[in-house]
Structure formats: C-alpha cells, structure tokens
Amino acid sequence: MDVRSQISMVFHLDKCIGCHTCSIACKNIWTDRKGAEYMWWNNVETKPGTGYPTKWEDQEVYRGGWKKSNGKVNLLGTGKRRGLTNIFYNPNLPVIDDYYEPFTYKYLDLIESPEGDDQPTARPVSLITGKPIDIKMGPNWDDDLSGTPDFGRNDPNLKNLSAEEQEVMFQLERMAFFYLPRICNHCLNPACVASCPSGAIYKRGEDGVVLINQEVCRAWRMCVTACPYKKSYYNWYTGKSEKCILCFPRIEAGLAPACMHSCVGRIRYLGVLLYDADRIESAVHKDDEDLIDGHLDIILDPFDEKVIQAAKMSGVADSTIHSAQYSPVYKYVKQWKLALPLHAEFRTLPMLFYVPPLLPVMATVKQVDNTEGGKMMNPIAKYWDDNWLYDTSTTELWGTLDQVRFPLKYLANLLSAGNEEMIKDKWKKLMAVRIHRRRVTVGDISQEKTDEVLREAGLTAEMADGIFYLTALAKFEDRFVIPPAHREQAIEMLDFTGDTKGEVGFGFKSKVKRGL
C-alpha cells in the first residue's frame, strides 16, 4: 500500500446557480494576460450544451484521454509513438476557433469620434490581430440554452438517446438544464502528464496538484490534445501550455482557491483524500461499468489504523492525515457515496467529483388539508393557507423517476459512464434527505414513511442530517479543509532553517567553502 494524499474537490450541482463568479475570480487572478485571454481555467457550462471548447466531450474529434482496447489502456490521440511522429503537426489539436477568438471593443471611439449624424459605436476588435472582427463565438455563447439548435442539440452526451427522448428534452414546456462548472480535475492518471514529450508536466506528490513547468514546456502541444477535459490550454503568445494550478499559492497559505472562495452558491468543497497509488493501474484497467467503483475503491479510509500507519511510512504529514479525517470530500464521495467523477470513461481518474443535480422532477402537486402543517410553521414564516402540496412523499416516489424531465441516460452519460442505476441511487439519496428534513421541520410526513425512504436510499437519519448540514448550512471551515502546506519545510529548500553558531549565515543551501 503506497498511500498518497490528494487535494480533491466536490461540486454540488444542485446548488450551482450559474453566476460565473468563479470564472471571473479565476480570470482576474490568472488569465488576464496576452495569449491567455481566451483561457478559462474555470468555466461554467450549461448542460445540455456543447461546452468549451465546442464539443470537448467528443473524443472522436479531439482524441483525448485513455482508451482500453484488448485489455491494454493507451492514450487515444497522443502517446510515445503518435506524440513523436505528430510532433511537427498535431492532427488532433483544437485551434482557437474551437474556443473563440478573444475580442474587446474600441471604447475610445465612443468619446473621440468626430461629431456627425450617427451615434458613434464601439466596434469589436480581435485581441489577437487588433483588427475589427465579426464576433462568431464568445465565452458562454450557449449560456442558459441559448442557440439550442446549434449548441444544446449537438451535446455529445445525447449520443445514445433516442430521437424521441431528445425531442422531449427540447420541448419548450419541458425544457430543463443545469450548470456544470469545470476546472482541472487534477487526475490520478493524468493524460496530460503522460503525453508531454518534454516531461514538463508533473503531479506534486504532497497534494496531487498537476502543474506545467513553464521553463521546460517546448510547445509540442500534446497535452492540449491529451486532456479529455480540454483543461490544458496553449498560450499562443508565449508558446507555452498553461493550466489550472488549483491556486496552489493560496492553498499553501491556507486559503481556498479563488474559484471556490468566491462561489456564491457555496457549491464547492475541498479536502484531502488519501489513496493507494499501488492500485491506480488496476483501477485504470477496469471495464467501463466497474470504472467508478474501482476509482472510489482506491480512496482509503483515513480513520483506519493501517492506512494511517502506511500514510506515515509514505511521508504524509500528520496534519494532512488529520485534514483527511475532516475532509468534506471524503464524506460526499466515500461515506455518503453521493458524488461521481465526470466522464469516468476517459480513464484519467479525475479527482473532482460532482453531486448530480436533482431536478424538480419527481414531485406531484395534490390537494391536501394544510391546516395542521401550517400551525407547525414558524410564525415569522409565510403562512401556508392554500390547500395543495408539492408532494415529494408518495409511495410512488421512485416510480416517478421514469417520468423525469431529464432523461436518466443523459446524466448517466455525463457522470457515471452510462450507468443509470448509479444516478438513480444518488437521486434517491438526495430525495431521502429532503423527505427526512421535511419530517423534521414541517412534520407532515410520518416517521415510518421517512424511515422506509431512508432505508431504501441506504442512509441513516444521522447521515441524512450530515448531508443536510454540509449541503445547506456548512461554514467556510466545513467546506474547505485545507491541509497545512508546511511552508517551514518548503523554505528549507532555500535556507537551512537550523542554522547555528559557527555557520556562515542564511541563504546557503550547500556547505560554504572558501574559494581558490
């Protein structure tokens, strides 16, 4: 057992309101530079939609990630042979038009134009050439299902949905969508690292952050192709690839990454997971249907004495083990089994997990007598004097899953490598928590029914309360459990901090010798 620690994330999609604050926070700090204007290390997509870059999930086009064939797992579009023979021209490299051509407006024209009969306008100009352009595409062009014929309907996740199912999804009365915020997944089996001919990309052992060494990158641009999530970007000006750094300078200082810190919906959780690096290879080689189980299986229980011992043997700091025990990610992913990795079938073992969105699809509206329920409500709360119930507690509760507005298959394509049961399981849990909390706060659902629902979802009342707390009430420290970076050790790379009498002084890494 080779225990390593990984800072990983959970995004609770039910809570995402699609405000793009995370994207702006990230952009302001990291990518507001020449050559990086088009990059969104953090971006929020509307699903169904084609995303950014357009149709990034379609590996028939982009050839990213790993593929299993004949029992062997190989990089799909890159790798040693393809990477080196395609080094002069990478046939699978996305070009800037797949993202969008960055632009600004000539605002000064509004002020400086000479007097005339027409209103002066601020024409759009390209940030690459500086010349006026016709804007064809911009960030979040398809936000909130705009341009659905071009975007939503071309979503690669619709691939094995019948034409009928697709038609239902895009009927005006039944349309539904949700947001998918994406950052680098800081994978355990990163395709970008494996594809880099220069060896410029590496994973940090201490916290699992995947980084590109800007001094070693030579613009062979294989990582852009290799990353199935298209989260490695090519800076066209400096000739270097760049990617999300999980705000490691902030993490080392004990701060949450900018995107997470600024999250308005508080959908983001960050914490340590301990995992067994020896079993990565076998997890990667699992069949599609066992991939997620295999992935979650190598994540270790931080309370297990054996795991703690092995972690210490592998040099994991006590403080990191402690953080792992309080990790909200561990709770969501392992204890409650509520979160799933995005597109596990790409086989990179992404360490960013998503709680599937529970769309308002399973409730019925019926006539009931609400007088009793109304009495139990807080007097300050609005009195509920009408006699209908947005009922989520019928005996046919799970039966309605078949009538959902969002085809299960769609979410399964996105989050569970096609396994619909897995999504159903998460939805049941999310519903059970709601029913349980409704019993506690409103009281119009019987204890027996609640128990039955919880049992069917595989939860206990304590777990449901825990999920409720972390989902709805969690404070900053609950959502972000950041292990100390041990800067005191980092500084030892520059200075030996144990300087004593007789030493020459600070600033020397090696023994100081008199010159010849």
């Binding site: 390593r4 990089l75 040693k80 990477g83 080196l84 002069f88 021209y89 990478n90 046939p91 490299l93 996305p94 070009v95 800037i96 690459i128 050439t129 500086g130 010349k131 089996n189 990163p190 690292v193 494996a194 880099c196 001919p197 220069s198 060896g199 990309i201 590496y202 994973k203 940090r204 052992g205 201490e206 800007q214 001094e215 070693v216 990158c217 030579r218 613009a219 062979w220 641009r221 852009v224 090519y234 066209w236 000006y237 400096t238 000739g239 270097k240 690096a277 210490k312 043997m313 592998s314 040099g315 700091a317 050790q489 980092a490 030892e492 790379m493 030996f496 144990g498």
Partner: protein, 242 residues
C-alpha cells in the same frame, strides 16, 4: 580572392561556432522560458500541415545525410561504388530536398498571408526563412548541377570540415570549388551563427527522453520515504528528493 576564401571558409566557421556555443549555452541557462518551438498551429491549423510536415521530414533526412557523410565518409563511398545504389541515394536525397523547399515555401506563404500570425511573427523569423530558402535552393542547385554530391562531399568536404573541427584548417581543395558550393558552406555557418537567437533552438531540445521515461511523473520536495523515518532524525541535511 584569397582574402574572401580565408574569411568565408576559415574565419566565418570559427566565428559561427563560437557564437553558436556561447549563445546557446547562455540562452539555455538564463533564458529558459524562451526555449520553445513557438508553434503557431493553435492560431492556424490547416495550412501548417502542408508546410511543417514536408519541411521537417525533409530537413531531418537532409541533415542526417550530411552528418553521415561527414562522420562515415568511407561507408558512403562504399555504398556509392555501385551506380544503382548511388542513384537511389542521390534521388532520395533530392526528393527530401524538394520536400524541404516545398514545405518552406508553404510556411512562408502561410505566415505572411494569415492575419492571425502577424502578432507571433518577428524579424528573426524572416531572416531564418530567407537563409533557409537560400541554403535549400543552393543545395538543390548543387545536387543537380555538380554530380554526384554524395561522393565528392565525402572526399572533399569531409576532410575540410574535419580540419576545421581539429583546429587545423585546410582550404586548399575547397577554395577551388565553384561558387555555389562555397555559398552553401558559408550559408551553413551563417545559419549556425544566428541559431541561438532564433526559434531554431527547439531542435536542441528534441524530446527523445520521452521514449524511455515512464508515462506518469510525480515529484516530491523531499525524499518522502525518508522524511518521516525515525532512522533519519533532524540532521544537517534533510533527505532530498533525487
């Protein structure tokens, strides 16, 4: 004439080699961020194929052809002892030369007709293009007009280059060669002298290491197996990661 010969065939090579060595080492050690192939495929990904691919494969074969003739002149002469094999060698080399020229022309056209590429084009790119085109055309001209290059290279130019590299320059034979050949020799050294100041440096960092390194790379600041071991307590040297 002697002055010119001495300058272009003795002084220039040594000057070029000195600039190449010092400049490259300086740039690699202190301007590492600038060491990049500066690919522009991201801005224009279609026309590049018809330029980059024929040029690069052409230049690789032509370059190694020259290198083999320099390092193993005997084997080239032995190969050329049969006319059929000589023809195969010469025609193959010529085809790669043509491929290089076609690629170059496509690259030049692409770079100066695509608006998006102007912000990533600098003066050194133009100089490199001009020099490479002159060099390629001269090479093809020589191969066509002064046959058979592979044979007389091994008998005339290999000793000359050898004399340069052993610091005992001997140009008696070379100075009698026709001017296109001299142009080709001088051109090579001029390219060598501007080499460190152009994007050509990317050929020095060709990632052959990729062939034998493991796919995944994980790094630690400290030797993680030792950093917490009780057998290596607080000491003057922390267990560093190798």
């Amino acid at each position: 004439m002697d002055y010119l010969n001495n300058f272009f065939l003795i002084a220039l090579p040594y000057l070029a080699l000195a600039i190449f060595l010092i400049g490259t080492i300086f740039r690699y050690t202190s301007r590492k961020f600038q060491f990049s192939s500066l690919s522009s495929q991201f801005l224009e990904g279609r026309k590049l194929f018809y330029g980059s691919v024929p040029f690069h494969w052409g230049v690789i074969f032509v370059f190694f052809g020259h290198l083999i003739a320099f390092l193993f002149p005997g084997s080239v002469l032995a190969w050329n002892s049969q006319p059929l094999r000589l023809m195969i060698l010469e025609i193959t080399a010529f085809i790669f030369g043509i491929s290089m020229l076609v690629g170059l022309i496509n690259l030049v056209i692409r770079r100066y007709t695509t608006a998006r590429l102007s912000p990533v084009t600098n003066k050194m790119d133009l100089i490199v293009y001009v020099l490479l085109i002159i060099q390629t055309v001269a090479g093809l001209w020589i191969a066509y007009n002064f046959r058979w290059g592979s044979s007389w290279f091994s008998t005339l130019l290999t000793p000359y280059l050898y004399s340069i590299f052993t610091f005992n320059p001997d140009i008696t034979a070379v100075s009698l060669l026709p001017w296109p050949v001299k142009l080709h020799i001088a051109g090579a050294f001029v390219i060598l002298s501007i080499f460190p100041f152009t994007r050509l440096v990317h050929m020095l960092v060709l990632p052959l290491n990729y062939l034998w390194r493991p796919y995944q790379q994980v790094t630690w600041y400290w030797n993680r197996k030792k950093v917490r071991s009780s057998s290596t307590p607080w000491s003057l040297q922390r267990p560093e990661n190798t």
